[in-house]
């Protein structure tokens, strides 16, 4: 994959951001409309994979210096912490909490602890898929 395709690279620069924005949107929208942490994570991965196809792995690593293994671990921690937090409040494991708040800019918004769990799912999905792709891609 030693290509130097100007058109692909130029398009990628724009499209990546669109995909990333869409991923964020779909992640937050997940609780009410189609979407969620799993798809959000996969979409983010496609954006990064697109970058890797257009440029190459070393470049992408320089731009996004993320250790995906650590990212996976952080995601798992998020998920487990959200699930176990309910124990502190003396309710069964994995009980979610939610309420409605009036936030500036957003108006009335519902905040749900499921979102925290979903962040965990998101991070794990990105971490795992990228770990796999990077490891196989870098293998000589």
């Amino acid at each position: 994959m030693r290509t130097n395709d100007v058109m692909l690279q130029t398009a990628t620069k724009v499209v990546t951001f669109i995909i990333l924005m869409f991923a964020v949107h779909i992640f937050f929208a997940g609780h009410y409309t189609p979407g969620g942490g799993f798809i959000g994570g996969l979409l983010t991965t496609t954006a990064i994979v697109l970058l890797m196809l257009a440029f190459d792995i070393p470049t992408v690593k320089k731009v996004l210096p993320i250790n995906y293994v650590v990212l996976t671990a952080v995601g798992l921690l998020f998920a487990i912490a959200t699930a176990s937090a309910s124990i502190i409040f003396d309710v069964p494991f994995f009980t979610h909490a939610y309420d409605y708040y009036d936030l500036p800019l957003f108006g009335e918004t519902s905040l749900h602890s499921a979102l925290l769990f979903d962040i965990g799912v998101y991070l794990v999905v990105v971490g795992v898929t990228m770990t796999i792709i990077q490891t196989i891609g870098e293998d000589e």
Binding site: G30, G35, G37, F38, A73, F117, I132, D139
Partner: protein
């Protein structure tokens, strides 16, 4: 203070041991550890006066309420006696170990952590009223014993001995768990006290005999009864403090404890009585006979421990007979339980001191081989005195406590003539005769142990070290125990009132309602009766045979090794290892395609079988969505793409065709209004095509010649079968609704309960959050697996194997 928490005190203390060892290495860690058993001993001792009056203490800590599992500490005469033994002997052993284990050379933090874990586990075993937690602690003693035997883990023999004890005791433990489960099914409770209360009804049940045998297997393996005793001699590879503590005074008595504790439950059964008394007595005579074959000091003591445990076990078996006799409290049968408990205490004192002396001899001369030892009497006078007291007590001579309990043992065996159930009236004579023979050999090996070590000719040239008396600190514990041995002889009734009677009342609750009603007084002299003549006979014959020991001891070498139980164990281990590996090599070929064939064949088999057996296949075309042009077009596109995969000559084409199939499915999802699924399918397809490309990039080109695999009939059958199965399942799943759909529930509650709108996602994060949590955990594990396979590429380093 709550009793339950006291059980865990040693484990909690163990947490600080590594810290103390690292930070305060100048002070021997044992000194800190000593505080724990001492404090516990003093605490338990304060409970004595009220337990003596028949009082009990209960303390409960709920653990898994939904399964009705709790830590219940129950302190009555029996458990208090054991608790005092565990903490008392524990304190002495820790004191001894301070001088036995060098603080600079030994890994003391490991040693004391294991020892404290063991202490907690053992206290848990004897105090638990709950069968499941009793089992838990039981296995914990096996594990800590394993760790302690393998303390010098660089030695092959240590590891072998540790594994052997683990294999045998854990096997027994698992059997016992089965017995416990059966008991709880029969009685409907896990509580031992409640089981005892309904003992007569339990005996009617079909499972009763199974529960009995399984529980006994657990007790016999732990207490080293025939034929399971073989692990104990090999466990002597442990440091001597451990042998003195675990393998003579406490852990091996866990089986005795269990038998004593469950006697009220099982004693109504004839099988119980015959098994416990018979196996115990046989073990006693067998092990005392083979003790004389041993050349290792600790080996002799190991066999003698096995033999003495058998003795106590047989007494408990006879004690069970008291349940079948009207007014047993008035007959001689009453002595059995008393003798069992009394001898248990005496054994702990004299055997503990003997083990410590064996350790001292090993420590100061460098060998435990009795053939190299001799003449140490003048060099180690204090050790010799202690050894003499311990041995003569073990031999059953006055004025030592062993004499009293040995006499009572003979009384109990003779008392069987009063028992005329279970065809005992014919066979009873065997019991005293075998007991007598066992006692003769006990007498001989006791003398053998002490005189062949300390008397005779000193052979300094054969000893690795210059022999000299042990330091004072090391002698404190054995001397203390030896003093007890003598003291108990003179005040047996004090011990009887304080310790033995409460325990006897706990073993035979139907006989006695309080410890005071146990009407037994121990006296050293009770006239010229059969027991006394038997004892005199033991001394005479035993003395004569010891005198001529050198002449006939070599006869033991005639015993053929190939038919020993140890050999059987070794053969079984080898067989299980090589046999299992041969079996797994039969089907583990190393080819993924073979494994796929296994898996798919099994799936086909199991699913089709279920379909057929439950008559689940249905065909119902009602309620189908109309098939439009789009669906037909997409379907043909999918078919075309699938055929392309099969016939394509390059991998790239195949991958892209596979992608086409996936995208078509996504389109189908769109048409059937499942945007979530469609979106996920699209993204997944994109990523997996990219992954395929990456992976195939590393593969060699398909060569022109082998562009097609040979047609394999077997594979074709499997492939066809999978397709057929899936089709049938899909059709049946659609055609019948055995259960009402759950989607209505989701629709109703998704907003009110979970505050969400998208059912699919709310299922993922809320309704089935547990699934998701484990799924992402599995994902992470898969990623770690891929990293370790590809990036770390483990190279084969066979020469670094630790056993080579």
């Amino acid at each position: 203070m709550s009793l339950v928490f006291l059980i865990f005190l040693p484990i909690l203390a163990a947490l600080f041991i590594p810290l103390l060892f690292k930070r305060l290495g100048q002070i021997h860690t044992g000194w800190f550890v000593l505080l724990v058993p001492t404090a516990l001993f003093l605490y338990y001792a304060t409970r004595l006066p009220s337990v003596m009056e028949g009082g009990t203490y209960v303390s409960e800590l709920s653990w898994i309420p939904s399964l009705d599992i709790a830590f219940i500490a129950y302190l009555d005469g029996l458990s208090l006696l054991f608790s005092l033994l565990i903490t008392g002997i524990g304190a002495l052993v820790v004191l001894y170990s301070v001088f036995y284990l060098d603080k600079h050379r030994e890994q003391l933090h490991n040693f004391y952590v294991y020892l404290l874990i063991f202490m907690s586990a053992m206290l848990g075993v004897v105090q638990s009223d709950h069968l499941i937690t009793l089992y838990l602690f039981w296995e914990l003693t096996s594990i800590s014993s394993f760790l302690l035997i393998a303390y010098w883990y660089t030695r092959d023999r240590s590891r072998f001995g540790a594994l052997k004890s683990m294999m045998i005791t854990v096997f027994g433990g698992l059997m016992m768990l089965g017995g416990f489960v059966l008991l709880s099914i029969i009685g409907g409770t896990y509580s031992i006290r409640e089981l005892i209360a309904q003992a007569p009804e339990l005996a009617e049940h079909d499972f009763f005999i199974w529960a009995l045998v399984l529980v006994l297997l657990g007790a016999f393996t732990k207490s080293a009864q025939f034929p399971f005793y073989i692990w104990l001699p090999d466990a002597m590879e442990a440091p001597t403090p451990v042998s003195a503590y675990l393998h003579s005074a406490t852990m091996v008595k866990a089986g005795i404890y269990l038998v004593a504790r469950l006697t009220p439950v099982f004693a109504l059964s004839e099988v119980w009585m015959w098994l416990v008394a018979g196996v115990g007595l046989f073990t006693m005579v067998w092990a005392s006979f083979f003790a004389l074959k041993q050349k290792d000091l600790k080996g002799i003591l190991a066999f003698s421990t096995v033999s003495q445990l058998g003795l106590i076990m047989s007494l408990l078996g006879v004690a069970a007979a008291a349940y079948h006799v009207e007014g047993a409290a008035e007959t001689y049968l009453k002595y059995a339980a008393f003798a069992a408990i009394f001898h248990l205490i005496n054994h702990a004192t004299f055997k503990g001191s003997l083990f410590m002396i064996a350790g001292i001899v090993d420590h100061e001369t460098g060998t435990r081989d009795i053939r190299k030892l001799g003449g140490l009497m003048s060099l180690m006078p204090i050790s010799f005195t202690v050894a003499l007291i311990g041995s003569l007590s073990m031999a059953g001579m006055p004025p030592f406590n062993g004499f009293l309990s040995k006499e009572m043992f003979l009384t109990a065996m003779l008392s069987l003539q009063e028992f005329n159930l279970f065809s005992m009236d014919v066979w009873w004579i065997l019991f005293p005769v075998i007991a007598w023979i066992g006692s003769v050999f006990t007498f001989i090996y006791s003398l053998y142990f002490v005189f062949h070590t300390f008397a005779g000719k000193h052979k300094p040239d054969q000893l690795p070290k210059q022999a000299h008396e042990a330091p004072v600190g090391m002698l404190i514990s054995p001397v203390f125990l030896a003093v007890l041995v003598v003291l108990i002889f003179f005040i047996p009734n004090v011990i009887g009132d304080w310790l033995v009677k409460p325990a006897v009342a706990a073993i035979q609750p139907f006989l006695y309602d309080s410890p005071q009603s146990v009407d037994i007084t121990v006296s050293a002299w009770h006239g010229f009766n059969t027991e006394l003549f038997m004892t005199l006979g033991i001394f005479a014959i035993g003395g004569l045979m010891f005198w001529t020991l050198r002449k006939w001891q070599h006869l033991y070498d005639l015993y053929p090794d190939p038919i020993s139980l140890n050999r059987l164990y070794d053969e079984l281990m080898v067989l299980s290892e090589s046999g299992v590996s041969r079996f797994s090599k039969m089907y583990m070929t190393g080819f993924i395609r073979t494994y796929l064939v296994y898996m798919f064949s099994f799936v086909i088999f199991i699913v089709l079988l279920t379909l057929f057996m439950t008559d689940a296949f249905r065909l119902n075309f009602d309620n189908l969505a109309p098939i439009g042009v789009y669906e037909i077009v997409i379907l043909f596109a999918m078919l075309g793409a699938t055929v392309t995969i099969l016939v394509s000559k390059s991998r790239l084409t195949a991958i892209i065709a596979l992608g086409a199939v996936g995208y078509s499915i996504a389109l189908l999802f769109v048409i059937f209004r499942a945007p979530d699924l469609a979106l996920t399918q699209l993204v997944i397809e994109t990523i997996s095509v990219a992954l395929f490309l990456l992976a195939f990039y590393h593969l060699p080109q398909i060569s022109r010649k082998e562009e097609r695999m040979n047609f394999r009939f077997g594979n074709a059958v499997v492939a066809f079968g999978v397709g057929l199965t899936m089709t049938l399942v899909a059709l049946s799943a659609h055609s019948q609704k055995a259960l009402p759909s759950i989607s209505e529930f989701y629709k109703e509650t998704v907003y009110t309960e979970a505050a969400g709108g998208n059912i699919v996602n709310v299922i993922l994060v809320d309704y089935r959050g547990f699934d998701t949590l484990f799924e992402i955990a599995v994902l992470a594990i898969a990623a770690i697996g891929i990293i370790s396979m590809i990036r770390l590429r483990l190279t084969k380093k066979e020469d670094q194997h630790e056993n080579k």
